[in-house]
Amino acid sequence: MTLRKYFKVYSKFLHTSLASELEYKTNILIDLITAILSLIGSIFLLSIFFQNAGSIRGWDFEQALIIQGIYTILNGITNTWFNPNLTEIVKHVREGTLDFVLLKPIDSQFFISLKKIAPSGFLEIILGFCLLLYCIKINQINLNLSFLTLCFITIICSICILYSLWFFISTTTIWFVKTWNATEVLRSFLYIGRFPLNSFSFSLRIFFSVFIPIAFITTIPSEAFLGLSQLWKILLEVFVAMVFLFTSRKFWVFALKFYSSASS
């Protein structure tokens, strides 16, 4: 019953935000060009790294492209859902409109995380999938059901971790009010996700798998794509994703206790 209610509400969200975003049609075209250029740019950067090295720490150029593909898909998802919604929290807190959200007979996290949608991010997701298909072809990966489920599971887990990271940082707004720069810091760290984790030095590798689990976000799904991944890594990723989702939820509920409405 409640699930159906949430579905219905979400379809309304989709409808309204798509309608308002499609007002700016040239904008979407410009965003498409931006997405394409950005992908070309990162492949260009990757080709600079590989121009004199056959492989970097066991990753060939063709294999590293898979990471780019997954990064592009995840970045598209970030731009479609996480970025437009979670930066909105800052506005809600600053202008006191979070009160209205909390008063609604619907889960506040649901409302805040899914209210808006930016369709231009879809283009990035499509681009990422095209690149992945191309990679599957050049790396001669044969598709079968177990392979597809593994990839699907790892990518879903990555999305969960990514969402939790964004949500975590946006939640801190309740104390610090102005944190859109914190999301900018997260964004610049996420940039690391374009490269295989083992191309970094040991200390950075530890940092990016323990403190900010960027390693889990792109490297493990790429390994799953290549069929290189061990089972324990995938299980670990599922575990990390669940821990992240759970703590981000708890953190939100905890933070709301400190929210003291506007002008109070």
Binding site: Y24, N27, T34, L37, I48, K178, V185, S199, F200, S201
Partner: protein, 264 residues
């Protein structure tokens, strides 16, 4: 008399904006942290010995990326985002009445932010030297002076380009998406992620005709003490400013004629 007035105005603007920026110290510190991507890139280069093929030693490369970080810190421009917000909110109208081009206000904002940012950048550099003690060096006064000038010129070029884009707000509502488009070549071609010398020849043949390598690569090479053509680089920077400034004046005068205040 007139110059006295201008000096007075500029001084007052700077003072006001500086105290304004000091209010947001945490925000600016976070901005500074979000600029550390060059250090991650450095880690990829040196950890995989990729720099051997481009004949730059580890030490020179680490100095280069540190300088790239510094140049980027002091040439970040966001005028289009401020102007877009102001013009959508109708704040531009009162600015236009004042006997001062509103862009002076934004310009002072940027300078004040750079002054606020300076200590944070120094702290980050300090940590960088703790981790890479072998790359400590002291540039001589002349080089330091020249590189400060070229960093400022790089800032001016970016400020002018963004101001031109910002003026497009008079015609379209969302000029910031054009800025995001322009940011992609700036990111990949300016030398922030990889020094321009490492680029393949088919890119190097035309890149020096564009403004991009003069934004970060040239000042960073100058400061880090790599061999470059100083007078050539500086004159190209000045040439770009001379080209962009009339374009800005033109688009500004066209735009203000087009501008209709809210509610008219």
């Amino acid at each position: 008399m007139i110059s006295d007035l201008i000096n007075h105005k500029i001084f007052t603007l700077l003072k006001v904006q500086y105290s304004n920026m000091l209010e947001y110290r945490v925000e600016i510190a976070l901005w500074a942290i979000s600029g550390i991507i060059p250090f991650f890139m450095l880690n990829i280069w040196t950890n995989n010995n990729l720099n051997e093929s481009i004949n730059i030693s580890d030490i020179m490369l680490s100095r280069y990326f540190l300088c790239a970080f510094f140049v980027r810190q002091f040439s970040v421009v966001w005028v289009v985002f401020s102007f877009e917000e102001d013009s959508l909110m109708g704040k531009v109208s009162p600015y236009l009445i004042q006997p001062l081009n509103p862009f002076f206000r934004y310009f002072a904002q940027h300078l004040a932010e750079q002054i606020t940012r300076f200590p944070f950048a120094i702290i980050i550099a300090f940590f960088f030297f703790i981790f890479n003690p072998e790359s400590i060096w002291v540039p001589n006064i002349g080089i330091l002076f020249l590189s400060i000038i070229s960093t400022f010129l790089s800032f001016l070029i970016q400020f002018l380009i963004q101001s031109i884009v910002a003026c497009l707000c008079f015609w379209t509502e969302k000029a910031s998406s054009i800025e995001r488009l322009l940011f992609i070549p700036t990111l990949f071609l300016s030398g922030l992620l990889a020094p321009v010398v490492s680029f393949p020849d088919y890119v190097k043949s035309w890149i020096y005709l564009t403004p991009f390598p003069y934004l970060i690569d040239f000042p960073a090479n100058l400061l880090s003490g790599n061999a470059i053509n100083v007078s050539g680089g500086l004159s190209m920077q000045i040439l770009w400013i001379l080209l962009l400034f009339p374009a800005f004046k033109k688009i500004w005068s066209e735009g203000t004629k087009k501008y209709t205040a809210m509610g008219s």
